[in-house]
Amino acid sequence: MRDAATIPIASPQETPWKLPYRGTVGMACLIVAESAIFVIFVVAYIFYMGKSLTGPTPMQVLELPIFGTICLLSSSITVHFAVAALRKGKLRGCTGWTAGTVLLGSIFLITTGREWYHLIYDEGLTIQTNLFGTTYYSLVGLHATHVVVGLIMLSLVLGFSLFGLVKEEHSEKLETLSLYWHFVDAVWVVVFTVVYVLGR
């Protein structure tokens, strides 16, 4: 070690040196980047609204997915409770709330799947049909992809916690995951507004 390596400090450090948790910041960055991707798809949807050269139009075929929306938005609340439970060390509560979140997310995914089945087989709308089909399937599909990713992660958490591997000290990590899930829900609010409210 070198000597004379000391410098005077005018005033001693008063506050302890505490920086944010890296998971939270990393997830915030990811959310910003993902938001930019969604913005481009939403802009494309809005830009092509009503510009399809052939039918079917959104008015003719789309129905409000009220039930799926309620399920997805509620899952934001359940995942929040899961984090809160873990932070207090209530491991069983955490498992329960995580299971609820996975269930609600899966229900949402099933409603989307049923909607697509209806559109493809009953209404004959595919991604190739017209601009509405192109923008609709890509935007809703991009969101559904994010739901699938979130569900995989949450299922992993559920699996780990069923084996008793999720502990109180993991609460920050679960909170990071919950941030992602809240983001997926928030995107759905935008998609719902654009596709099902404004777009019709």
Binding site: I7, L19, V25, G26, I127, T134, S138
Partner: protein, 561 residues
Amino acid sequence: MSTTHVVDGIDETLTPQQSRPPLSVVYEWLTTVDHKKIGLMYIGLALIFLVVGGVEAVLMRIQLAIPNNHFVSPQAFNQLFTMHGTTMIFFVAMPVLFGWGNYLVPLMIGARDMAFPRLNAFSFWVSAFAGVLLYFSYVGASGLYAAGSAPDVGWFAYAPLTAKVFSPGHSTDYWTLAVFLSGIGSIGTALNIVTTIICMRCKGMKMSRMPLLVWLYLVMSGLVFVTISPLTAAQIMLTMDRYLGAHFFDTQAGGSAVLWMHFFWIFGHPEVYVLILPSFAFINEIVPVFSRKAIFGYPAMVAASVGIGFISLSVWAHHMFTVGMGAAANTFFVFATMVISVPTGIKIFNWLATIWGGKVIFATPMLFCIGFLFQFLIAGLTGIMLGSAPFDWQLGNSYFVVAHFHYVIVGGILFALFAAFYYWYPKVTGRMMSETLGKWHFWLFVIGFHLTFDFMHIPGLLGMPRRIYTYEAGRGWEGWNMIVGIGTIFQTAGLLCFVFNLVWSYFKGKEAGHDPWDAWTLEWSTTSPPPDYNFASLPAVNSRRPLWDLKHPEDPDSDYE
């Protein structure tokens, strides 16, 4: 009065490395998650692609040196300019800047690694894979249709040229996937840099005390999220158009080719700032050290950088004046483009004020910085010219545009990068680069640069469009193109000096010691090259120039900040 240790980072118990079997060295580099090794691999990747992209540029200049030349075919020429642009932006500029960021940011903030080391390795390897994928197109892209080999749609790949009908085969898909994957890598590394800066600073390193390089990498990485992501989204759309029969950019089904332009340039223009901000970062560190003064106007520099970050998001359509967007849109984008020159001007004045009255040392890094200052200013001035819509209507898509953006990228970014190489090479290898070879490199490259890119403006003014593979004699373009071509000889010679210097100095260079430039930031407080853990004990800082405080305990910076 309490005390803090700055140079405790130097671990003098280190023993020289034993020589090991080559396979174990290779294995170590392939599996490493160390930010310094990943940074160096990024830089190495970029240097390889710099040679490839440079060869493509030379081939194009040979083709254009005289009229009616048949050195390469028109098809090959289209592939050359597409590959040259894509390579230089995505596989040279981005990796080399991320490489230096990876190497320097943790050292400068007194951290032992990045926030997510494994994500860091992933980002690097996915970028490297993307580069290989792009060049694999030369052998792999003919596909079942036996049409096309390398991508030939231009680096901005305007619709509808990229539609399946007009670009059969797989060449465009190689371009799309390579750019998409490189984007994933860029977002990963940017995320890592931001998180590292926010969460890993050493004790006392408040945001207001970070070196300006760190600030600029923070702004640059933040910009990457909102810049690269739109391109990623657009590539997804293009792939859906080509493979799923979607109609995003299919004008026959009501789609819009102009929408692609918007999506591309929403990426494309801020991307220029993604590249230039780290270049500013290098200048910010090097100019004060070689002027023997603290940087002038630190808060103004930070504010100007953040300002550039925001304003750069609102200027993209100045690439599209010739499309016909209407008076209102044109006016807005002209105005925004003029506004962005204000924070940039603030920076130039601050660098000049830093040099002013300093004891300037004209070592090679400083020479490149001075070159940068002049050339970046001229590049900015032609930028203002092209940023005025009526002027752009005359010269859009001409060689004047090509000359302008090469002035930014070569005269600005590349010169700053050379400065960075000469400045931090001693830290990376423990040896100084040769000053003699460095001066040869500088002067050859300056002469070559000005021959090529000053004179490239003139055929542009005379109406020579970009991307033509040849031209007929008698238009007044031939002499100018010959001069432009001769310039590349000097640039190549300069570059050879540089590469030779890199290799020679590694073995024969003068021992550097831990702080050869008498500098002030934390990376100089540890050994050269730094150990895997960077600092034996984490440093604590008290001002923006911790090593100044250390060397001048009687007059520390902390008294003035």
